[in-house]
Symmetry: C2
Subunit: 362 residues, 2 copies
């Protein structure tokens, strides 16, 4: 049996574990939570993400260690990398954890981004407002996810309050671009540098949290550009595993927003909607196995189940959805599961999504 | 959390458990084996299939009990059915456990079968040979699977030895029909009587064990007849859950061979090859949830991995196969896993299957 260590035991870990179980790959998790979703998919070592003793134990029992959670201390991973391969490389995580490093990487690779400025003080923020115009988005460089660590500044007089509200932490300011839509591109890179890219995904966020994804998002120029950006990024990082790149689309142009060095919520549709799921391809990549086909098997739609699980699960199933229940307790704003539909046409998929959202609103 | 009790913890139980985990359905197993495959998919109560105390415990913790193993004593299930719904109904299992009862049911429903005779003695066998002609197949009425409990009788003088070899047990004799191919049809029936039928599967056996399945097996007249036979059978048994009917095809005709009141090896391709797997549909059916779409997402092929796991798993993955490893120890004749491929055309699927079989022969 091949054994993979996974830092983090949330739903991403759970779905990696399910993919592994079938393949004959055992996943061993490290997570401090009382009932982490990954408990359903493998053994969980109950410890903080940065507990070095437990990390060593994990590394000792596995042939490769990966992570499904981005706020793992890079230093801990780098220390571990002397004894076990860490994939994706800790350098990718280091870049992703810091919005400034991330922006610099995009720019170094010629990947377009939204106009931005470094902000280390309220004065910097005032200057940024002058240079970029208002409104703008202030984002802390570190520890932001699902819309956390962000503030929108609409007027000059909001500047001081926003700076205080985010704790006066090292940040960046971005122009508020009124984009047409949000897209993500997800791909896997193998040990030999081979790359498998999924069709483009279109995403709709609500209050900073992903609500709906659709794939394939049909747009040839976007798909070509996204693929190139993703490949450049994977190559520059000497990456192994699955990576997701989130982008804004403006006309025919794409602006990179951020990347996640891991399997990604906007790729959940790949479980039923693609020949090979992102979870299986991540495991294949980090274990040096051949990557699986990333083609779509239809037009997929995914709805995140946030805060509460559907009161009428049967109605969702009857509407053709596949239901994924992460086994988490209900809590406002928490991702508890997702529902996917796969249809023969984009129109049918969109009608099903509408129906699904209505069922969930009841 | 909804909880299902499953008698048997083999690979069928494992795959039911994986399907359940995603749906938010917990599976609890009963199996006497030391390391049953289902241990990867849920808690296992370690006890013989007929241990009434453990069965009661199982029933007490679950809202419905099902079985993935056919040699469960029907009396034990019937006793249990006073306290918890047993689905599929024990009557279906009773019929399936006895080839005589099974044949009678087929005949009562007007489902064609191979010419046959009851055999309770060597004299009966001699008479059957006279009536049906030689060669014929002698099959014990009970406890036969994967070609066990069967003998082919080619000449008069083999009769006595064959009768002794099968232990002189109540049996039936069947004419040896030279069929064109073997087909199976798998379907689910829900609590309200709704039925979802998968496209026909073509099966190739080697030494009595399923080796290769392909779906959809394209033949409109066969598909129509198979669907009718399956629906009649499901209706007559007031069935709830997944049932598989194995048949021989002769020209445009179909002869029923046997049915299995459970998820079936010839339906493993449905995991990647259909919109909804047989495992998910079995759980949906027995829990009263709406059934999922049974349409194919391509042309699927499945190879059973028997006796040894492939020495070169990477080559199988590189050839486009999905690998399923049940986590069992290698042993001659044992089903250890399976590999599935899904292709855009039947020809491409057949080429992949050839390639897969070559890789496995190395």
């Amino acid at each position: 049996v091949r054994r993979v260590g996974i830092i983090g035991g949330g739903q991403l870990g759970q779905m990696l574990g399910f993919a592994g179980a079938t393949l004959g790959v055992e996943c061993l998790f490290q997570d401090p939570a009382a009932e982490p979703p990954a408990r359903m998919a493998g053994e969980v070592l109950s410890a903080p993400f940065d507990c070095r003793e437990t990390l060593s134990l994990l590394a000792g029992r596995c042939e490769v260690v990966t992570y499904e959670f981005e706020n793992v201390p890079v230093a801990a991973l780098e220390a571990l990398s002397a004894s076990v391969p860490i994939r994706p490389p800790p350098e990718a995580l280091r870049r992703a954890q810091d919005r400034l490093e991330e922006k610099k990487l995009f720019e170094a690779l010629g990947i377009p981004v939204v106009p931005w400025r470094t902000v280390d003080s309220a004065d910097d923020l005032r200057e940024a407002a002058g240079a970029l115009g208002l409104p703008l988005v202030l984002k802390t460089r570190r520890l932001g996810y699902d819309g956390k660590g962000q503030a929108i500044i609409r007027e000059e007089r909001d500047i001081e309050a926003a700076w205080q509200r985010l704790g006066g932490r090292a940040s960046i300011a971005e122009q508020c671009v009124s984009f047409d839509r949000e897209l993500s591109v997800i791909g896997a890179r193998g040990l030999e540098g081979e790359v498998a890219v999924y069709p483009l995904t279109e995403n709709v966020h609500e209050q900073g949290i992903l609500r709906v994804s659709k794939a394939p998002a049909e747009s040839a120029p976007h798909a070509r550009a996204a693929r190139k950006y993703l490949e450049d990024l994977l190559g520059a990082l000497d990456y192994v595993g699955v990576l997701a790149l989130e982008m804004f689309a403006l006309g025919d142009n794409l602006l990179a927003n951020e990347f996640a060095p891991r399997v990604h919520n906007s790729g959940h549709w790949t479980i039923e909607g693609s020949r090979t799921s992102q979870f299986e391809n991540h495991l294949r990549a980090i274990l040096g196995m051949p990557l699986g086909d990333t083609a779509c098997v239809g037009h997929a739609g995914m709805i995140n189940l946030i805060g509460t699980m559907p009161r009428d699960r049967e109605a969702l199933l009857a509407a053709g959805f596949y239901l994924h229940d992460y086994g988490k307790r209900e809590r406002p704003g928490r991702k508890l599961g997702h529902a996917t539909v796969v249809s023969p046409t984009a129109d049918a998929r969109d009608r099903s999504l509408e129906k699904g959202l209505k069922i969930l609103a009841k």
